[in-house]
Symmetry: C2
DNA sequence: GCGCTTGTGTGCGCTAACACACTTAAAATG
DNA sequence: CATTTTAAGTGTGTTAGCGCACACAAGCGC
């Protein structure tokens, strides 16, 4: 993990950007900009957290690892959110793993400063709690989606979420990695992706996926994408809109 | 919903029982005992909540309702928990439905009193946040379980959770209702239940299920049951142990 | 006691996803 | 340029769960 120099790009994280000036001023000296590499593990299941992370250009996945080693993504956070809710919820840790899914930058805030500001009970606390509720919606929807929808639909949903969190249409990601996220076989992803490519919704070559037709993807995707997206706007829209 | 007379049985809800005397004293006049009927809807998806519920002898299910009408349970709360986290998380409502799954009693706390006491930042706040984190674990595990485990395993897990929350081995519940909870077909539940009955783990007749062999059920169940149970103890064990 | 509602058993065809095995081909390495 | 590694395509057989349709039977109301 590299440290970058400035805090200029704090505006890149919507939650930080939403803070009122006085609250942000109290935090800014404790906000440390860092660069996160692809695959880097932010925290391991059961491991004591030290920092709360606010991604700016990176995306972090929350992965659940089963006893038999298979994995499934339960949530995702980019510039719309944060990683490390256990720090302020009281548990200090959670039974899942946070992995950098798309390399980029983030700010991190040391536990002590976080807890102090959270205890002030201002906008900061309100935003953190609302984001937590949003994350619960994300996880709930994943639960339901896993039960009821096809791999193809889930792949579309996953691509759409990534599209929202990234600046570009290009996604550096192999079918195998996506399979780990979705908790399905690699072949299943290949077949679903192949079908999407045939319909010119995406294009991919060896680890790079390009989204060609966002609207088309949304048609194929299940309702889950929209429900979660709407809930973000409902819970946090008064502070910031997700699609800005 | 009927109102009962006394607050004597507040000890029946583990979270209430865990409150220090001074905090409980501030709440007790606002705690209203109620009786909940089977099938009663505590709150509807998107509906503004007015009360936080602390079940004592009842069990409440958090159900997600899809656009096509099919349902799936994402969480469950009995005397170990509470229902209505959106009240203190800031969202005021959640995109799911809370239904009484097992008739019984509960206490309810009006929103205003809840928010006041939550704002005090004492043990009450700590317990509520820790319970929320526990609920997230429950939901995450449901997501993973839906993806990776068989109906039979999930049925075992569901029965075990109910056994923990109830006083008896008897469960008033049809296969059809269980199917709605698990988000599967009624026939799937009948087949799984039939297999469990053949192995003398359970016994059932027309809407009543008797659990005969708890240990046996745990062997058949997936790891999910134990993981969630352990996480309850980790997060809330310092206040109260789940299996008391 | 009779019929009706409701809960459960069962069968059939179908599909999505699985597990495993192997091929093809594009990059990376040297 | 040759070799190795890695990403993706493909095939076969298997299975869990679905949708639908219907039989059976327990218990309820009248």
């Amino acid at each position: 993990m590299l440290k970058t120099k400035s805090t200029d790009d704090k505006q890149l994280n919507h939650l930080l950007a939403a803070l009122p000036a006085d609250e942000f001023d109290r935090l800014k000296n404790d906000l440390e900009p860092v660069t996160l590499a692809l695959g880097e593990v932010i925290y391991e299941s059961g491991e004591q957290l030290e920092y709360l992370y606010f991604p700016t250009t990176s995306i972090i996945s929350l992965l659940y690892i089963m006893e038999n080693g298979s994995t499934a993504e339960i949530g995702m956070a980019g510039n719309d959110g944060l990683v490390g809710i256990a720090l302020y919820m009281g548990g200090s840790t959670t039974p899942n793993r946070a992995v950098v899914q798309s390399a980029g930058n983030a700010f991190r805030l040391r536990s002590k400063a976080l807890k102090f500001e959270f205890g002030m009970g201002g906008i900061f606390q309100n935003i953190l709690l609302r984001y937590t509720q949003y994350l619960m919606t994300q996880i709930s929807q994943t639960a339901v989606c896993n039960r009821l929808h096809t791999v193809e639909q889930q792949l579309c949903r996953w691509l759409l979420i990534n599209h929202d969190l990234l600046q570009t249409n290009k996604l550096i990601m192999t079918h195998d990695l996506i399979a780990n996220m979705l908790g399905v076989r690699r072949e299943g992803v290949s077949i679903a992706a192949g079908r999407l490519q045939k319909r010119d919704l995406i294009k991919y070559v060896r680890g790079t996926i390009t989204m060609l037709d966002r609207d088309g993807l949304q048609v194929v995707a299940c309702e889950c994408y929209q429900v979660v997206s709407d809930e973000y706007d409902r819970l946090l829209g008064k502070y910031i809109s997700k699609n800005q």
